[in-house]
């Protein structure tokens, strides 16, 4: 008598037992790929690597001595309907400029660099400022007895009949040399990981510390002066076009050029003092 009816017949071969193991498997290789994917995702999630290092870009101007790599600006302000490169129309008296009064030294030009000339969708990318003491000190003016009596009588006592001194006027020459280089270099990324563009649109404003006003500047005389221009497009009036480039084999390696812009890109500006049309020129905006 047997305990049950199950019988296993003898077989000289191996026995096979099917065992349903509760496991799921992953093919070799996929696991490694998942690991790599995991690293990438992890980097994106908590520590995206970006190269934020900047370098200084020199103004691109091979030029002739002594103008190599120098850049020239001129700023014109309105007296009535006439533009002159002079700080007097902005309310600065000669002696205030000569004596470097705080109202003068705290004033500055501010350059904004945009990614587009179209105001409705432009973003400001960076900003540079230029102190007024970067201007040339070469405007000869008569010393006014009532404004600067000390200087007036000092020169008079030396036998000078018409006392004169040199004061700043809004003409600027910047270069890579030691000294006047604030506002000369553009500090921008070395490579294009963060921002692929290499062109910007530069506008200018004058911050007047004496009046507290901000004066908008144009790239050419205002449209509501003679000759009057109808329906001005803002993009044509406010900007110069700035192009950054890398000169892999030359010195300096990183350079920028400034071109005139009125909807179309024009010739390079700022390369020389003369003729005056070579300067980067800005004009005070006249309210309609």
């Amino acid at each position: 008598m047997s305990a049950n009816r199950i019988q296993i017949k003898a077989n000289v071969g191996d026995k096979n037992v099917i065992i349903p193991l509760g496991q799921s498997f992953d093919e070799l290789g996929r696991e490694d790929s998942v690991k790599t994917w995991e690293i990438v995702e992890q980097q994106d999630a908590i520590n995206i690597i970006r190269d934020y290092e900047t370098t200084k870009y020199f103004y691109s101007n091979i030029g002739t001595p002594p103008y190599e790599y120098n850049v020239f600006y001129e700023f014109n302000f309105l007296t009535g309907n006439t533009y002159t490169p002079d700080f007097n129309p902005q309310g600065f008296k000669d002696f205030e400029i000569y004596r470097l009064k705080k109202s003068f030294t705290k004033s500055f030009f501010k350059f904004d660099f945009y990614d587009s000339p179209l105001q409705e969708d432009q973003k400001i990318m960076f900003t540079m400022t230029m102190p007024l003491t970067n201007c040339k000190k070469e405007k000869d003016v008569l010393v006014k007895k009532l404004e600067d009596a000390l200087e007036y009588w000092s020169q008079k006592s030396q036998g000078i009949n018409f006392p004169v001194y040199d004061i700043y006027w809004p003409k600027v020459q910047l270069g890579p040399s030691k000294g006047n280089n604030e506002g000369y270099y553009i500090q921008w990324y070395k490579n294009k990981d963060l921002y692929s563009g290499d062109t910007f649109y530069m506008s200018c404003k004058f911050y007047n510390a004496k009046t507290g006003k901000v004066v908008r500047m144009l790239n050419k005389p205002s449209w509501n002066l003679s000759p009057v221009v109808d329906n001005p497009e803002a993009s044509e009036w406010y900007y110069y076009w700035v192009k950054l480039s890398v000169n892999n084999n030359g010195t300096p390696k990183y350079v920028y050029a400034v071109h005139e812009f009125d909807g179309l890109i024009g010739g390079q500006k700022g390369m020389a003092n003369t003729p005056p049309s070579n300067q980067i020129r800005f004009y005070e905006y006249k309210a309609p």
């Binding site: 496991q23 992953d26 070799l28 992890q42 980097q43 908590i46 520590n47 030691k178």
Partner: protein, 587 residues
């Protein structure tokens, strides 16, 4: 007959009354090409520090930067041979100060401090080409990044015994460390005293081997020591004297009684176990030796000697150099105002700065990918170098043929009142090409090779040891500035450690488990190498590196004191000669 027919399987609950079913365990030898998919491995705790460490260890990109402190001694004067109206004359610091350079008298002077500066403010030399602010930072010096690409065992070298009698040793870098040997007596012991111009690297009881190659010769009266005579006297059956030659010796003691000379001097007592050693009738001689770790396994433990070969990996425009804003040198600024009557006719009043010790910030513009470079030992590079070369845009320094500088090692620049003829750019010109004296050098570029340090490498210790850094010599252009022939010396290559080799040696029998730079040691049957330490990991003794990591780049910093050193003729301020400096204790 088999008993398999009698096998029965009985369910648990049918075995006996009250029994229950139970799980059986079966040992299965599973052979699978699949891996368990464990859910737990999919969970990951994000950790910024761990992520930073991971990325830091993974990155191989380097941005190098640092500071150069300029130190020099503007002490070589001369007579200006340019006209009174020349630019060179206008910038000179006239001596005597109270006389200046009045009309009708010769103008003796020191050059201005601009001669040494990294960013001179104008053209100051005999060359009148246009000065440009933008390129001024390369008027005197140009910098590159380099690494050790290979080495040279056949670099010819000369060590002078006496400049007056013109006695010297001529050898190749692969011949080992040069020495001057003399027979003398210390504490009643007759000894051979070996004096080296560089650190010998030996300790007491360590072995060394005197070399005998046809590349080693002497000139003048000094004898060449290629081996030592050993005289042995046998008393039985009668006094028989036998003489033999010996090249391998054990160091008995170090130094010659003077402070700091243990690293330069080692001694062997002449009474050896196998006889009495002698110099064969000479009182002194010269030669070279190699260090040996194990005299029973010379082939695998004898040091090799060579000169590094640096390859440039940047171009001349791939760096930025700026003045430091608010740093003054450690020595005071020295200058003078010359009134018009103290200057050449029509020159007018002038101010000349003779010495001013400025500092400069340098910044390599190129990202260096460490993965692309392997050193002379086939190891991933562990050091980069800031290479600084003279450019001579002011035409002050003399070129010979088309080469500007000479080169030499420490013993060629010793201050003994003589300029070693070895270092002139006529005899041993560095690889700095200047074809036109009025135009400065032709800037070297990526891939150019320059000599470097004189180095010992021991294959058993798996370690290099710098014996002497290379120096470049600068001689004044005598047709414009007539001096006594004194020169200046500067060190062109400055090490920037980016990784460190471990102080311990790793061993592995299986080839597959070793890095490509492992060395197989036949006597022990293993591959051996020194691991490269991860960044931020330090071994005992401070061995390791750590530097900022951001922008997915490493930022190692190198601050150097760039020393421009005068080597003066007849300079008696430091009264040392080769013999006195390295002499024995009896003198």
């Amino acid at each position: 007959m088999s008993n398999e027919k009698n096998i029965r399987i009985v369910k648990g609950n049918e075995r006996f009354q009250g029994s229950q079913d139970k799980d059986e365990s079966i040992q299965l030898g599973l052979l699978s090409d699949r891996r368990n998919y464990l859910e737990g491995n999919r969970n990951l705790a994000l950790n910024l520090q761990d992520q930073f460490d991971f990325e830091r260890g993974y990155s191989n990109l380097y941005r190098l930067y640092g500071k150069i402190d300029l130190i020099y001694d503007n002490i070589i004067s001369g007579e200006c041979t340019t006209s009174n109206t020349s630019n060179w004359m206008d910038n000179m610091y006239f001596i005597p100060e109270y006389v200046g350079c009045p009309s009708g008298t010769p103008c003796d002077a020191y050059p201005p401090s601009m001669l040494f500066e990294f960013i001179p403010e104008k053209r100051y030399g005999p060359i009148s080409t246009t000065f440009m602010d933008i390129t001024a930072y390369q008027d005197n010096w140009v910098t590159y990044i380099s690494y050790i690409d290979s080495h040279d065992t056949q670099q010819d070298m000369i060590l002078y015994y006496d400049y007056t009698t013109n006695e010297y040793l001529n050898f190749d870098s692969g011949d080992g460390i040069p020495f001057i040997v003399s027979a003398t007596t210390v504490n009643g012991n007759d000894i051979l005293q070996f004096v080296c111009p560089v650190d010998h690297g030996l300790t007491t009881k360590m072995y060394f081997e005197i070399q005998d190659n046809n590349t080693i010769t002497t000139s003048g009266g000094v004898s060449l020591l290629t081996d030592v005579s050993i005289t042995t006297t046998y008393q039985n059956p009668g006094p028989i004297i036998k003489t033999s030659k010996k090249q391998i010796f054990k160091v008995d003691f170090l130094g010659n009684g003077n402070v700091g000379m243990n690293s330069k001097v080692f001694n062997v007592i002449l009474d050896l176990e196998d006889g009495k050693a002698s110099l064969g009738g000479n009182t002194y001689g010269m030669g070279t030796f190699k260090r040996i770790i194990n005299p029973d396994n010379i082939a695998e433990t004898r040091s090799e000697y060579y000169v590094h070969q640096h390859k440039l990996i940047t171009k001349s425009n791939e760096y930025v150099l700026d003045r430091t804003g608010f740093e003054n040198g450690i020595f005071p600024r020295k200058g003078r105002v010359y009134k018009a009557k103290r200057t050449p006719p029509n020159a007018g009043e002038k101010t000349v700065i003779k010495e001013e010790f400025k500092s400069y910030l340098w910044n390599c513009d190129k990202d260096i990918d460490r993965d692309e470079y392997y050193d002379n030992r086939n190891r991933p590079i562990t050091d980069l170098y800031l290479t600084i070369l003279q450019t001579n845009r002011n035409g002050v320094w003399d070129k010979s043929g088309n080469r500007l500088c000479g080169y030499g090692w420490d013993w060629n620049f010793t201050k003994v009142g003589v300029v070693d003829p070895y270092v002139s750019n006529t005899n041993h010109p560095a690889n700095i090409v200047q074809t036109n004296i009025n135009e400065g050098i032709v800037f070297p570029t990526e891939g150019d090779v320059f000599r470097g340090a004189f180095v010992e490498y021991n294959p058993y210790e798996l370690e290099e040891r710098v014996l002497s850094e290379i120096g470049h010599s600068l001689a004044f252009r005598q047709s414009k500035f007539n001096t006594d022939g004194s020169i200046y010396k500067y060190q062109p290559h400055h090490r920037i450690p980016i990784r460190k080799l471990s102080t311990s040696i790793t061993r592995e029998a299986e080839f597959e488990m070793t890095p490509q730079y492992a060395r197989y040691l036949i006597s022990e049957g293993v591959h051996r190498w020194r691991n490269i330490l991860p960044i931020g990991i330090y071994e005992e003794g401070g061995n390791g590196v750590s530097y900022p990591y951001l922008n997915d780049r490493h930022y190692p910093y190198l601050g150097i004191e760039f020393l421009i050193e005068p080597i003066r003729i007849n300079h008696t301020g430091e009264t040392i000669t080769m013999i006195q400096q390295f002499g024995d204790v009896c003198e």
